[in-house]
Symmetry: C2
Subunit: 337 residues, 2 copies
Amino acid sequence: MANLKDIAFEAGVSIRTASVVLRGKGPESRISMVQQKRIREIAERLHYRPDAAARAMRTHRTGIVALLLQPALGTGHVPNAGASSLAFEASLFLNDAGYSACFLPVADVLADAGERSAIFQEKMVDGLMVINSAPGHLRSRIAQISPNTVWVDHNHFESFCCIRRDEVHAGELVITELHKLGYRRFLYLELEHLRGHYSEAGRWDGVKRAAESLGVTIESLDCSYERLISEPPDRLRRLEPGWALVTYDGRLALEVIGYFGRLGKRVGIDFALASCDASVELGGPFRAVARVAFDRVRMARQAAQMLLNVMGGDRHAAPSVELRDHWHGGDSAPLAP
Amino acid sequence: MANLKDIAFEAGVSIRTASVVLRGKGPESRISMVQQKRIREIAERLHYRPDAAARAMRTHRTGIVALLLQPALGTGHVPNAGASSLAFEASLFLNDAGYSACFLPVADVLADAGERSAIFQEKMVDGLMVINSAPGHLRSRIAQISPNTVWVDHNHFESFCCIRRDEVHAGELVITELHKLGYRRFLYLELEHLRGHYSEAGRWDGVKRAAESLGVTIESLDCSYERLISEPPDRLRRLEPGWALVTYDGRLALEVIGYFGRLGKRVGIDFALASCDASVELGGPFRAVARVAFDRVRMARQAAQMLLNVMGGDRHAAPSVELRDHWHGGDSAPLAP
DNA sequence: GTGAAAGCGCTAACAA
DNA sequence: TTGTTAGCGCTTTCAC
């Protein structure tokens, strides 16, 4: 495989000239257009491709960032749909800026030194994006890997380099919007086994606070995804008309639809349903379920931009933000009967 | 940040000794245990982390592999659930073998030279895994990037380095199993706008062939995901008892459930349904839908192992395979009435 | 057992 | 406007 020296030799110029031209810095260095064209042609003819390692060694920039993800509950090693779509979208923005994104399980960072992925044992990444994982003792480990870290949708939240959703607002929004539709009694469904993610407390806080300030009835019910099917709680079966079901996330909403569907009950007709989160699970035929919308593309773009700013050396160009979502009426929570 | 020279100086040994010890080759080089321990302690104290770029430059191995993915229809830039879970699982196996996986859109490879991601313009990856994408003119481009390529679930299939599902068998299996349950009339739902993926022809071939050889009735119906909701085909509404619905994939099955659910009809009770593919979309409350199961973890492991073999220099240790799935009865297609 | 030194391919400072 | 050259941090051969 041809290298710069070969190109330079073939073109009868110095290595520097070849390097400058092939990096696109020809104009700045005022190298004649004829030379530039010739050198580029020769490079192409010899199938020249720069050696990323050599460049990285000189410039102390690898062009690689790591996106840390946490496997979803009960799915082996695959992150939940929301986190992975966020990662894919962020990855694209980073690509456009010349970076490549490695997707890695956050557990690797916490592992003992010898067990960690090469990418963490070695000096390899220019930056890090931690997505949607709960463990708290991550910070010091992360700091050792790269000072350029952005925390996305994470419990850890400080003045800079953090971006997440305003979960309390999401909870409040669901209740106030359903209240406008005439609902006065709410049953909030949350996960039985909490992961310790801030959204769990946040959404319930918002829901409860809004219900209290509006003076309406709010009950809560714990349920695991699986139990909704294997032993559906009595409280659900006894649900009377006029009550609105509010779920912690899209997955629970889906389970509810499945549960009632098996009884021949129709969402939005026989019962009202809204979700605090519009994750990808609520796509497909359930895209019209009432919920707080969440623009993951926007969040991904902002997160990527923050990381780019930080890697550019300007931490202060990445002030933390909490994003607010808007209500998406859908058709699963029509006017209260 | 400390480098090998610092460690060697601090320990009063040569750079070579430090290098050998810290790479864990101490025993082979018969370096005294005392020295080894001392050097490792010093490295830890100085927070030594090897420079991946320098190592890569010397060894001509970067430890990076790229996983090429194709965005799903209508989802912006996110691959479908099946492809991404496969990628995540494969990524884990590669991690264990010391590699880090960059997730990249396959479109980058096809882009013009200047538009391609740095990772493809430069010499950066040790290997490539192409997952589930249809474009045919990919091969020559891929060959330029890395000779170490494994094709997963892809139209391209030759003697080595390819792994995919036996789609014809999947189609046959659905029909023969439903036939055993007493069904004699089948309506096959497929996508209206084909992507050109081999599974589209394969599943239909299998379904049709099995139906013909069993001498039963088979009809097919084209439908897009969206149209199933906006303008549901008349043929579906007129579906009589005794017919079994067979869908191309899980997403279509989900749309069917949604469509009938809106009419208050229950899957597995009011109509029979089976899917040729059990993608992640059919998780959650719909995990019991009858289908051909598909063990993506197994496929991911095999694909990763093939890639490792090829990168190890032994292409012949990676013969192509077509994986067969088994039937998963579920509860959506009970004994025919 | 250990050390000295060459060199991987590239960039950038300096020289001409 | 272009060429020369010193390293970046590591691995590895060879000499001791």
